[in-house]
């Protein structure tokens, strides 16, 4: 038997709580191991000292009215007295310890409501603008791919300036890293849509557009910015009408109209 195993059983041996087989094993180990013998001696001393604490004596007269007090309590419960004064729940609630807990709960609630309302507002009111402002392009790709979130993008408006800003930011990333990852390339497809669109007065216009060759990894950002700038002649804001699946598999905006701002 090793020390670790024996040490778990020494206290049981000292206090007679061990079966014959284990006792024999532990005793055998103790004969050979000085450290465990010392441990056994300590446990033995502890056991003896603990027994000296048994049945402590109270001061004389301590039990004189012991039963009377019990009986008076029982009698009180059998014959209920007049209604006793009770503190109002409001007072209890305002006690310092409850006030601290209450304040913490209320504060947590306010923060949670604030955060939830912010997230909900971001998702429901202007999701595209929110994602672009936060430069969360990957989040935008995921949101558009989610059928539950996709409807929120319908009729969503976004400013042309923000589109240009996003394009320039992506260009910066491209310059710094030499390439863009697949999610980022998909984000570019979403932001920098291309093709002929019609405005609300039936005029045709090129709604953005990106000479893009994903397979070759070549991106002409300057042409993209130039195309987006053309949108300005139809209005400073663009309203999205439709989101469809692109050839890469990602969802992107496929139809929109320009809105004149006053």
């Amino acid at each position: 038997m090793k020390c670790a195993k024996a040490q778990k059983r020494i206290a049981f041996l000292v206090n007679g709580e061990i079966d014959a087989q284990h006792r024999h094993e532990v005793e055998e180990h103790l004969r050979r191991c000085g450290a465990c013998q010392a441990l056994a001696a300590q446990y033995k001393d502890l056991a003896q000292r603990a027994r000296t604490l048994a049945s402590p004596n109270a001061l004389p007269g301590f039990y004189d009215t012991f039963f009377q007090k019990i009986w008076s309590q029982i009698s009180r419960e059998v014959q209920p007295q007049a209604k006793v004064f009770q503190r109002s729940p409001l007072w209890t609630a305002l006690r310092p310890r409850y006030a601290v807990i209450g304040a913490a709960v209320i504060l947590t609630g306010i923060v949670a409501i604030f955060l939830f309302s912010k997230i909900a507002a971001q998702r429901r009111q202007a999701p595209l603008e929110a994602y672009l402002t936060q430069r969360n392009f990957q989040g935008l790709v995921q949101a558009l791919a989610d059928p539950r979130q996709r409807p929120f993008f319908m009729q969503d408006s976004v400013s042309v300036d923000l589109l240009i800003e996003s394009c320039e930011f992506l260009e910066l990333i491209h310059k710094r890293h030499g390439q863009v990852s697949q999610p980022l390339a998909e984000a570019l497809q979403i932001i920098l849509w291309e093709g002929q669109r019609r405005d609300d007065r039936g005029r045709a216009f090129t709604a953005g557009g990106l000479p893009i060759n994903l397979l070759a990894g070549q991106l002409d950002f300057k042409a993209a910015v130039r195309n987006i700038r053309r949108l300005k002649q139809f209005g400073a804001k663009i309203t999205l009408l439709e989101v469809g699946q692109a050839w890469t598999g990602a969802y992107r905006i496929t139809s929109m109209k320009g809105t004149q701002t006053p």
């Binding site: 778990k8 206290a11 049981f12 206090n15 709580e17 010392a38 441990l39 001696a41 300590q42 446990y43 033995k44 001393d45 502890l46 056991a47 000292r49 603990a50 027994r51 000296t52 604490l53 048994a54 049945s55 402590p56 109270a58 001061l59 301590f62 039990y63 012991f66 039963f67 007090k69 019990i70 009986w71 309590q73 029982i74 419960e77 310092p96 310890r97 601290v100």
Partner: protein, 188 residues
């Protein structure tokens, strides 16, 4: 300890009679010292210990219409006292958490100028008492019942309401903890 055969209190199912009250008083007188001692070990305060023991007797009386529950009167009373004390200790801990009762910080184990010197028996007794108060409530209850008051493992399990294995596991933890704390003062 032969508490099992000391009292057989099968209180009959009837309204309160003079005999019942006399019988109840006998039970109180018989068990009060051991119950208060248990509560005192748990709480370290005579007044509080008396309150908890009295509360246990009140509950015992209220349960008098359920003879099965009260047949093993001492086991029942001891279990109630220990549960009341554990509740009390938890309330104390909560209170300490909120108000940082610095005056309750125990300094008994701090003054160890010469830990090697042979301490007086009374001094070691105090150190042991102080170390016992620092055990976790359940471990403390089991250590008190088994090692201090000397009940068997089976009796301790019955009082505490758990298996014998559970009692042994808690006992081991409690003893290990106490041995570590008191190592400089225990005989090698």
């Amino acid at each position: 300890v032969n508490w099992r055969i000391l009292v057989s209190t099968t209180v009959t199912k009837s309204s309160t009679t003079k005999d019942q009250v006399i019988q109840f008083e006998q039970i109180v007188n018989h068990h009060q010292r051991r119950l208060v001692a248990l509560a005192f070990h748990m709480l370290g305060n005579w007044e509080e210990a008396r309150d908890q023991a009295q509360e246990a007797f009140v509950r015992f009386w209220q349960q008098r219409h359920q003879p099965d529950e009260v047949n093993a009167s001492f086991a029942y009373l001891a279990r109630v006292v220990i549960n009341l004390c554990i509740d009390r200790l938890r309330k104390r801990d909560r209170h300490r958490l909120f108000f940082w009762d610095m005056d309750e910080i125990d300094t008994a184990l701090i003054s160890t100028e010469e830990p090697e010197r042979a301490v007086e028996n009374d001094e070691l007794k105090n150190l042991l008492e102080s170390a016992v108060t620092r055990l976790k409530p359940r471990q403390k209850a089991i250590f008190i019942l088994r090692d201090i008051e000397g009940y068997s493992v089976a009796e301790t399990a019955e009082i505490i309401g758990g298996s014998e294995n559970n009692v042994l596991v808690n006992l081991h933890k409690a003893r290990k903890n106490l041995r570590k704390r008191l190592a400089p003062y225990l005989k090698m």
